[in-house]
Amino acid sequence: MGYTIAEKIIAKHVGHPVRAGELVVTSVDGVMATDTTAPLAIKAFKEMGGQKVFDPEKFALIIDHAAPSPNERIANLHKLMRDFAREQNSRLFEIGEGICHQVMVEEAYVKPGDIFIGADSHTPTYGALNAFACGVGSTDLAATMMTGKIWLKVPQTIRVICNGKLQEGVTAKDLILFLVGKITVSGATYKAIEFTGEAFEGLSLSSRMTIANMSSEMGAKAGIVNPTGLELDYPFEPIMADADAEYIKTYEFDVSGLEPQVSAPESPDNVHNISGYEGTKIDYAFIGTCCNGRLEDIDIAAKILKGRKIHPNVRMVIAPASKSVLLDAMKNGSMETLINAGASLITSGCGPCVGTHQGVPADGEVVISAANRNFRGRMGNPNSNIYLGAPSSVAAAALEGKIVNPKKYLV
């Protein structure tokens, strides 16, 4: 019997073969926390007797969830993080440098074959890189900061095979929304997911990150994209599953006819063809987040909005996934296009998605967002409704003031 990608990565770290179900204490290659999770982690680290983090080069703090600080309470938490990073000789990514997951990938804190632990639920994003990456809470993270280790149950793996190529005008976000709808918000709890098949092979790293990112919306411990077709600017050894690896479940879809998708309020798995919601009036369009704030996302929105103006009843907010994304979108003209179309640019970070600050919707308002979660109250107001879609769908809705199929602007 062969091994899954998750089993192989964990085996490499513990030094012996492992099977799903086994409990292991494994070394990790990187850890990070954000301003939502780091303050509690630092407190727990000190309380558990921690003095020095296990490796200052493998530990990073990112100020992204409420950046820049909206009030004195959060300003003081940010200061606590800055002081701790200095004391530990570790890197702190300042306000505006980017969203944790984007920065960890851009700065190569995580590489193929790594085990990475992040105090943020979207840490599985690094499965795009063929890494095993798990989200944890603050105290777990503190323990890993101190010991360089984590205890894990080797997960069973669900295999998701997607055959066929996505049509023009249909994006990785549409694909992963479709899969979340099929697998549901608890369909992969405690499991790893392997995404494999032709539909993933042609995807960019950014699109692969969108796919792996929403593994967490299915409850997964990790979501790993088959590395076939993955291009990185440094050499790496891809880790593939064995042909006779054991899966707890296999889903197989032909996605060649897939239409743009939306997730309707108020659960990410409430997914439908966009045609079912065409005409739904929107007040607010948001493009950003660890799911869809990358250059290709900003570019596709700019393609739709070039030379046009967003609907007068709509406001549009753009939060690039990182400073590097912002600079690239400035250089290639996409950002200018979006701002000329009426969009408002905010600091790179998570704020609007998580309702921390910036861009909170009003009572009764309808939002279309390129983010990954639409739980009630997610964006800071329980009396608003959030639809999730691809950046193309967000841009097309901003233009028309209602949900529409964006394909007509792209094909």
């Binding site: 509690l40 105290t139 777990d140 984590i150 918000v185 405690y190 309702g355 739980f375």
Partner: protein
């Protein structure tokens, strides 16, 4: 001998809610950025049941359906419940990060599978035997056994105390 923090049995009023209660509903993101943990209790379950924070009494039990605590990794979610007085969370099953977080902060959690415990039921929990009894109907549910490492962490009162004592993880006798 480890100091056992967890009561061996609990009897209390249960607050019963449904499936897929996400961490945004347990504690909205806008309240999570604080180290003053007592403030979390003021907003616990605010977007699910605004009356909960006033109803909940020290030692109460929270019961939910499937996938309790899905969504974000915020440890403030189990902390908010603990701060509000909740002594134990019982669910059909839990989202994984919430489950680990709860154990790590010393909030006991029990998975009992599909159940029909009604709203405002009184339940009796035998932590040692891992059973939950709905006192009104007399129906007893068996909880899934925790791995030893989780029991050890819980018995120490959470991961901070566990690591303070042991300095590292141990899978001995697992």
């Amino acid at each position: 001998m480890s100091e056992v923090q967890m009561p061996s049995s609990l009897k209390g009023k249960a607050h019963v809610y449904g499936d897929h209660i996400d961490t945004d509903r347990i504690i909205p993101g806008k309240y999570t950025k604080t180290l003053d943990l007592s403030t979390l209790a003021n907003h616990v379950l605010e977007d699910l049941d605004p009356s909960f924070k006033d109803k909940v009494q020290q030692g109460d039990i929270l019961i939910a359906g499937t996938n309790f605590g899905c969504g974000s990794s915020r440890e403030q979610a189990p902390l908010a419940l603990k701060q509000s007085g909740v002594a134990l969370v019982i669910a059909e099953d839990f989202a994984r990060i919430f489950f680990r977080n709860a154990i790590n902060i010393g909030l006991p959690v029990l998975e009992i599978g599909k159940h029909s415990i009604p709203k405002n039921a009184e339940v009796e929990v035998d932590m040692k035997a891992g059973t939950v009894t709905d006192v009104t109907s007399g129906k007893t549910y068996a909880a899934t056994k925790l791995p030893k490492i989780m029991m050890d962490i819980l018995n120490e009162g959470g991961l901070v105390k566990y690591l303070k004592k042991h300095g590292n993880y141990s899978l001995e006798n697992e």
